[in-house]
Symmetry: D2
Subunit: 228 residues, 4 copies
Amino acid sequence: MADEITEALEKIFSVDSVLYQERGFQRRIGFGERPALLNIDLANAWTRPGNAFSCENMDVIIPAVQALLTASRAAGIPIVFTTTAYDVTASSPSDMGLWHKKIPVELLQAGSEDCQIDDRIAPLDSEFVIQKKRASGFHGTYLAGFLRAHQVDTVIITGVTMAGCVRHTTEDAIAEGFRPIVVREAVGDRVPGVTEWNLFDIDAKFGDVESLARVLEYLGKIENEGNT
Amino acid sequence: MADEITEALEKIFSVDSVLYQERGFQRRIGFGERPALLNIDLANAWTRPGNAFSCENMDVIIPAVQALLTASRAAGIPIVFTTTAYDVTASSPSDMGLWHKKIPVELLQAGSEDCQIDDRIAPLDSEFVIQKKRASGFHGTYLAGFLRAHQVDTVIITGVTMAGCVRHTTEDAIAEGFRPIVVREAVGDRVPGVTEWNLFDIDAKFGDVESLARVLEYLGKIENEGNT
Amino acid sequence: MADEITEALEKIFSVDSVLYQERGFQRRIGFGERPALLNIDLANAWTRPGNAFSCENMDVIIPAVQALLTASRAAGIPIVFTTTAYDVTASSPSDMGLWHKKIPVELLQAGSEDCQIDDRIAPLDSEFVIQKKRASGFHGTYLAGFLRAHQVDTVIITGVTMAGCVRHTTEDAIAEGFRPIVVREAVGDRVPGVTEWNLFDIDAKFGDVESLARVLEYLGKIENEGNT
Amino acid sequence: MADEITEALEKIFSVDSVLYQERGFQRRIGFGERPALLNIDLANAWTRPGNAFSCENMDVIIPAVQALLTASRAAGIPIVFTTTAYDVTASSPSDMGLWHKKIPVELLQAGSEDCQIDDRIAPLDSEFVIQKKRASGFHGTYLAGFLRAHQVDTVIITGVTMAGCVRHTTEDAIAEGFRPIVVREAVGDRVPGVTEWNLFDIDAKFGDVESLARVLEYLGKIENEGNT
């Protein structure tokens, strides 16, 4: 089934890309000079099996993120992780806002192991974990101000899910004045076709979708300026 | 080709919906008590042929929006239009931010006929046109504060494009605390498959996709409280 | 000294109020129908002596907040606390952004007793504590979306400091579409004259400054609708 | 009277500054490397006599802003003007949100001469005028994203009023990650004492208050990189 879906989608993208390119879409935003690495929702609820939020393809995504973490730490760039979590049992009214009316966010209890970043890609003590309540890593968080204060101009984006938090984060990133670079091998979702489609939309309109190899090459050229 | 694409996508959505429903996604957010009508980028650059931004299916979209405008005016609810426009020729540095590095927003000159709302669905003098710079109607605008000041809890969303401004607006709407209702017949895009896929993603995670008939029925029951 | 300052300020306010009222400022925004209680930075660093952030007048402020908490819990309205805290020792670059370049926020270690809400006004398990990084309770937090999702139209504001977090929160509250009511006996600061001057500015332009008695009377009339 | 007020306030600030400095407040944020000039609400309603919004001291403020414009244009830095304006007569419900319940914003009709920038400091065609609805130049506008897209790290702030739009803009600027520099001779208000007090609060907590001479000296050293 997955192959059939991929094949069907590739045909559609091929037709659509002709029109986009004739019209001046699908341009390259390019890499800037001061990147940050932004890892969206790579907590156990998404990276491990058996959860309503579990995603596919972790045997590719986790090693890709590991490689990006190694390169980013060597380059000394800011690294941010997000997770999505709520005071589910206690709060009245709920910090889930309206989102539990669409998806099962009531399963994401703040402080639970489910909401902690997967220990295969564990943050160092010096790296941030932002606990967000909405899909975008920028929405209702101090992320944009934090990145600006540190003069970041480019966000390398990894994580899940493509149709949810990664997509909304990417849209917000360019709106907030940052160049979004989405790493193809480091993002995913949980239903067939969704990753491909959302990468296609993003590359057409909101940010550049780049291969892991190309992003690692870019990070290798960033000079480590030490902590400022 | 369009039929083939639709058929291929329907198969994918069918498979994906089984998984989503097993997992507790695709819930109904439902209609609230105080709606506003939000028409995204139905300006001539998008609604008329011959522009890089021109969209398909206007023979369905325009009448749907006309019906929604009539019902919304009868109900006395707030009506907002957005357009996207820039001081293209003059500004240095540009108010396009980074977006012209992905899509041809340099074609959208503020004050031009292209950026005016299509006169088949012209705003009344009492209705707002918000000139935005980014994809979302909420991003970098006073829309959220305006809607909250008038105690709106639900946004009925129409317009274009599904993969761009309508999608981002819908994601922001639920994040900002409003129930997004996207009207299936009143939204569109410019490349095959994009509208269907983005409606599928939105209905799974961010807002309810509803038929024009159902939304008109809902609006018919809203009491007109007059201006407050 | 304090009496002299108060006297000098009262004279200035009297002169200024004449001009403001002639010009149509100092209007009443009034109470709405769905209030929330918003307690700004009443954590130990501010409410207890011996800290760079310690504020004056806690023998008045704490009982006032206690009374407001009792009334708000009886009315069943949303109650939110904020604190300001950072990953001071570990993070590189810092989540303090630029603020430690003006004030000693490096003293506010997340998780420390200093950053916990004073236990004389301890939150119930069902009440939120939002850990913010900036002055305003709305800036870089999910507060506005949360309040809108629960259809709040009025925010009763207490806490410290008047020239910092309370002031910025009040300005943002009206911009976001909420009626700000600042409770005179429940707010304070750490240097003479600052509380009086900022209350004067706020009442002229951004929100109503009301007495504790009047706010308690208002809360007494709010019907407890139970949890929704 | 004005002298008496100034004298009384100077005494208070002197006392308060001792405490602030002992506690580690009133630090210097300093100038960054990529400034923008941000002129708040220097439209005729504020700069000319005879309006409810008219401010004092324009014989000092206007020449100061003229000098800053000349220096900023020579340096080739981004220049932004704001004005506050509404669709007063037509809109229902109003884009004034809740603000007309505190101050007479119903006098500020979009498109009127009152809401145009004073022609003694007229924007060039290449410079932005942002029409805002709230006090802060950042709130409900694309300003933060625009500045970040052009890698600005410092905002030189002028205009009126100190207790309203200049104050809120400055608070938001540091929260958004920009270094705020408020130019003492280039800001004002309409009632005695307000300018002094708000400059005192800002310098203690949110941004540096600097003399015109010092800011001009700084701008003189910025290299003009041409348009990017």
